[in-house]
Amino acid sequence: VGSNMAAAMELRCWGGDWGLPSVHTESLVVLAYTKFSGAKVTVSPIDWTWKTITATVPELLCGNSAVQEPAQILNFLRKQRFNADYDLTARQGADTMAYIALLEEKLQPAVLHTFWVDAENYANLTRPWFASRSPFPLNFLVPSRHANTALSRILLTKGEAPLHRITEVEGKIYSDAKECLNLLSYRLGTADYFFGNSPTSLDAFVFGFLAPLHKAGLPSSPLQSHLRQLDNLTRFCDNILTVYFSTESPCKIAETMDANLQKLTQLVNKESNLIEKMDDNLRSSPQHKPHRPDPKPGAKSSSPA
């Protein structure tokens, strides 16, 4: 895709699922921004490779330079003239910084907790997903490593007192996160994007945090049910998915539909073959018509007996 460019850019990130181009918040932020800014990058998912443990994702490789962390990657892309924030006023640029800080301080801890610390979600969704995307024997290592990082991040940033326990901060981080969702919902209102008619960095960040929460099949999540009550935020995610990621996702849906159709056709064919065979068998079987009259007399003969 990027072959016609001076320096081809490669983006390493976690792969997609649940109807998303990536299940990983930071990867999604960068993927969304590349779409918004028109940057052509070759996306190379790290799934099923040893990079699941060695690489820090997302990572943008361009020539000899490697850039990590969403904020740094977005800065790098802006310097390469892929600037989705070009039309923003200075005041809107300031607002962007403030709202990204709000997301990091108030929403991120609860999102991390939902996916990596909540025992039910971790056991039924997050661990199986990341384990199935990591090669043996890393499948035993990758999920727990992420979970430990998430837990210590929550405790170190939101923990109170020196000997902090997770149960003490849970109530606080979830009420903060719900308030943050409400604030985002007020700020977005009925608009498609946060600033005007085209998406910017802030939209990429909000999308990255909200989309997994919106799309994941979480067994238990008060935060997810709260998000689903805020229609404008879920519409915001769906809109970005259809407008910017539909070239990929409809293909996938079509593919899976095709595959399913093929299977169905095969099954139907088999079934009809079987039915035909049975019919043939029945027609050709000696007990079929010629024998029907026989049991009757036999029955007649037997009933009197």
Binding site: L156, A161, E168
Partner: protein, 259 residues
């Protein structure tokens, strides 16, 4: 504090008016307090003065250990103890004192976002400079932090604190930052605050809110605190509207009463 406890406290708070003997606790002003705690304490003092709520400031060497959240400052009002600006704002609102009731939903979202920008950038930068810049940690933070205690307890507590802050910096991805990058972050943050303030007297025009108190607490403390290098203060001094903003709040809320 659990949510149930929080709800209980706010109900209790609503019942009683603000007492005359409310007290704010912070570490010793001359020998002990560090930049970040001083900024947080000043922010709360500014907020209470903007609300017109009298509070007596008391310095205690063990203020950090007295605080229910382990954070500075905390206030003792009637029979309740509340720490940090966010919960204190909730507490005063329950008592019928609020600076942000006049804002609409979108403005309130904006106010909270900018408050998190200050916490996310300025507060983190202060902590970084105090404990992760070796010169500042050795010459200022460690001696001051351990000053009320005799050797070796003072040193042990200071190293423990330093270790805790460094772990936090690593967890949020600041561990690998250089001092220059941190100054650059502070500049960017001040640039954003300066843009947002523009030519208005306060962030939401005529009336100050808790955001004004928080920004004032941090900027004024950075401007008036001597560190090993004056670079941090210099970064702020290049934004003239932020300087006059600090002077305005100092004159309106701190000079009238002390004279």
């Amino acid at each position: 504090m659990s949510l149930a406890a929080e709800a209980f406290v706010s109900q209790m708070a609503a019942a009683e008016p603000w007492p005359e003997n409310a007290t704010l606790y912070q570490p010793l002003k001359e020998d002990q307090i560090l930049l970040s705690d001083c900024a947080s304490s000043l922010a709360v003092q500014a907020y209470l003065r903007m609300c017109g709520l009298p509070v007596q400031v008391v310095c205690r060497a063990n203020a950090e250990y007295m605080s229910p959240s382990g954070k500075i400052p905390f206030i003792h009002v009637g029979n309740q103890v509340v720490s940090e600006l966010g919960p204190i704002v909730q507490f005063t609102r329950a008592k019928g004192h609020s600076l942000s009731d006049g804002l609409d939903d979108v403005q309130r979202a904006e106010m909270k976002a900018y408050m998190e920008l200050v916490n996310n950038m300025l507060l983190t930068a202060e902590l970084y400079i105090q404990w992760c810049d070796d010169a500042t940690a050795a010459e200022i933070s460690r001696p001051r932090y351990g000053s009320p205690y005799s050797w070796p307890l003072g040193s042990i507590l200071a190293y423990q604190k330093k270790w805790e802050v460094r772990r936090k910096m690593n967890a949020i991805g600041w561990g690998g930052k250089s001092l220059e990058q941190v100054y650059e972050d502070v500049s960017q943050c001040c640039q954003a605050l300066s843009q947002r303030l523009g030519t208005q007297p306060y962030f939401f025009n005529k009336q100050p809110t808790e955001l004004d108190a928080l920004v004032f607490g941090h900027l004024f403390t950075i401007l008036t605190t001597r560190l090993t290098s004056s670079e941090l203060a210099e970064r702020i001094k290049s934004f003239s509207n932020l300087l006059s903003f600090c002077r305005r709040i100092e004159q309106t809320y701190f000079e009238d009463r002390s004279s």
